[in-house]
């Protein structure tokens, strides 16, 4: 009962935040609302017992990505510009129709999705029972999520770490390092 109330409240706030993001033209406010959106999503994940995902969403979605987007805004604004994005001239009818049809199709698609926590869902039938039964005795780690991520699916996690590392290298190559116009010729080896 209380979960339903929390769900409905959070989803209402999510909708309000999403509508406000779509309507607002002030980019700073939009970035802050993205952060709020992530925080509410994190709350929803906690209600769904996915604490690991909630941690990630709260820290990355609400925290670090907001800081990075604010940094990008600070880089791309010049003080002469207005802080509001210009309202585009075209009529929104075509995008509205596309979004409406996509939304109807998505809602229609959810009718085939098994219910939340359904033990007969295909995702629960494959390897999940094995992990739930054996992970504690095989790895000695009570947290099944950690056992699956670090041990059973270790190659995937190694790949993810490599992706994060590659992202850092790419960002550093693109915008890292000091720009110096005076020593450009002598430095550019």
């Amino acid at each position: 009962m209380i979960e339903t109330i929390v769900d409905i409240t959070n989803l209402t706030f999510l909708t309000i935040a999403a509508l406000a993001i779509a309507r607002l033209r002030n980019l700073f406010a939009v970035v802050m609302l993205f952060s709020v959106f992530s925080l509410i999503s994190a709350g929803l994940f906690v209600v769904m017992d996915a604490a690991d995902v909630a941690f990630t969403e709260a820290a990355v979605g609400a925290g670090i990505s907001t800081v990075l987007m604010l940094a990008t805004l600070a880089l791309t604004y010049s003080h002469k510009d207005k802080k509001d994005e210009h309202r585009s001239g075209h009529k929104p009818w075509l995008p509205l129709v596309v979004v409406f049809i996509t939304g109807v199709m998505l809602i229609y698609g959810t009718s085939d999705i098994p219910g939340f926590g359904d033990p007969d869902a295909p995702a629960q039938m494959h390897v999940a029972p094995y992990y739930l039964e054996k992970s504690l005795s095989e790895t000695g780690v009570p947290n099944v999520v950690t056992a699956v991520l670090a041990s059973y699916r270790s190659f995937d996690t190694l790949g993810e770490v490599t992706v994060i590392f590659t992202a850092a290298i790419a960002v550093l190559l693109l915008i890292g390092g000091r720009r110096s116009s005076t020593t450009k010729n002598s430095d550019g080896a």
Binding site: F55, T56, V161
Partner: protein, 140 residues
């Protein structure tokens, strides 16, 4: 933001708690929710808060970018190296069971070490990206 008294006081109080929580998520990740990725992100969020309030240059004195680059690479190396250690000890790549005397102890050890590598890489990468953005905005 150097003159904002409330922000300075509150963040001085909050940052140690954030670090403590990150360490808890890192080293308690095999019992409670969380793990290396979450811990790394939370730790870097604490340092980013410090950099936002006290300035990027001050934060760079605490943890210079070359240390971060070392840590980011070291994390990946620890992860991949744990796999190699499994190979050397007669198992398959990333097989943790052979790392200790019993299979369960080996699995546990492998998971803790690997999560540590993940945490180090994620923490340093997030900070490196933030520093790159913050550095860019400074007039030369």
């Amino acid at each position: 933001m150097k003159h904002n008294l409330i922000l300075r006081v509150v963040s001085k109080f909050l940052i140690p708690l954030i670090f403590l929580f990150a360490l808890y998520v890192q080293f308690h990740g095999d019992f409670g929710p969380g793990g290396g990725f979450q811990a790394g992100v939370i730790f870097s969020a604490g340092l980013i808060l410090y950099a936002l309030v006290f300035g990027v240059e001050t934060a760079k004195k605490i943890i210079p970018p070359f240390v971060l680059r070392l840590l980011a690479s070291l994390g990946v190396l620890i992860y991949a190296g744990t796999g190699i250690a499994g190979l050397i000890l007669g198992g398959k790549y990333l097989e943790f069971g052979v790392l200790a005397s019993t299979r369960v102890a080996g699995q546990h050890l492998g998971i803790v070490v690997v999560e540590l590598g993940v945490g180090m890489t994620v923490m340093s990468v997030m900070l490196l990206i933030y520093f790159a953005f913050a550095e860019r905005g400074r007039p030369q």
